[in-house]
Symmetry: C2
Amino acid sequence: MKIAIIGTGIVGRTLALALQGAGHDVVVGTRDPEETGKREAWSGLGVPLRPLGTVAADADLVVNATNGQASVAALGEVGSADLAGKVVLDVANPLDFSQGFPPTLTVKDTDSLAEQIQRAFPEARVVKSLNTVTASVMVAPGTVGDGDTTIFAAGDDVAARQQVVGLLRELGWRDVVELDGLHNARGLEMWMPLWVRLMGALGTAEFNIKLVR
Amino acid sequence: MKIAIIGTGIVGRTLALALQGAGHDVVVGTRDPEETGKREAWSGLGVPLRPLGTVAADADLVVNATNGQASVAALGEVGSADLAGKVVLDVANPLDFSQGFPPTLTVKDTDSLAEQIQRAFPEARVVKSLNTVTASVMVAPGTVGDGDTTIFAAGDDVAARQQVVGLLRELGWRDVVELDGLHNARGLEMWMPLWVRLMGALGTAEFNIKLVR
């Protein structure tokens, strides 16, 4: 699959390497590919960097791995036309660290970042997933406990959700809970305030939950 | 231990029976004990009902099992004097069903119901716990999966938290995660928007999460 990843932070880098390793044709979008390519994290990595305005032109699937507060603007630079009809896997969280730790959420309860993105790009097929775990766990669920913790996927478009579930399985996720409707992203994003506190209490981000039923 | 439970809904009733069954001296507070005693759920149950204004006078520990939107008012009827110095175990959630299902939260992110209660009754020793599961699971964690799912306890007062942890162990909880500081209740209450959606997706409230680390 041709996958365009938007965002050059640790999440974008981790997903790019893992999805490329899984055999996908991955490109990463950034405002200034030349500048990004000079950064230690990206230098010699072997993952093609492209300007935001062209990165998604040929993509089958677009991953939003930007900072939640910058997501709509960054996807705006990618452009509505290049997002139209495509699955947009939104792994971002609308965290606000301006008042320190723990962060608050910039949107919640009656709306979500995923829904903001969907409204901004109505022809995109937005699916929320992977935002409930840290980057290293996103691509290696087997490293947490017995490797069978739970990941969620929420979205309005069933076929888009199925495509994301397929990617999740490639990454090693076995217990995938699908939530029908993108409004469910409110619940997934509102898990973050507990997640950040558990990270503090546990002293590590390498944890997850298992839904036991 | 002398335990006063505030609230005569399913949560109050379930906790009253379980804590009485565990050997505690349990009384339940209600605005009109005579009227409540006539209700099918309470008639002949063998749990003493007392008016809110006297129910906590002799209590060692007070449980807030009221509707979250009514909690501060109900505890106000119990009275600051009778709450002073006591552990107040807050199991309530600030759910707002006025716009239908799924509910939203009346307080979140930068504040919590538990903190509202603490501010209203500064001499009480508030501990948030058990709000993350349905009533039947609160008192019978062994019924979910292998019986070893996770419960949380958050509060400022370490001794109060320890007293609650003791009660949790009596109820059968083995994996208790303590969070230092009542502000952590924000995370525990903000788990609810995902919980209610999972309840919808799973078709049951009899589930929980295991924190895997």
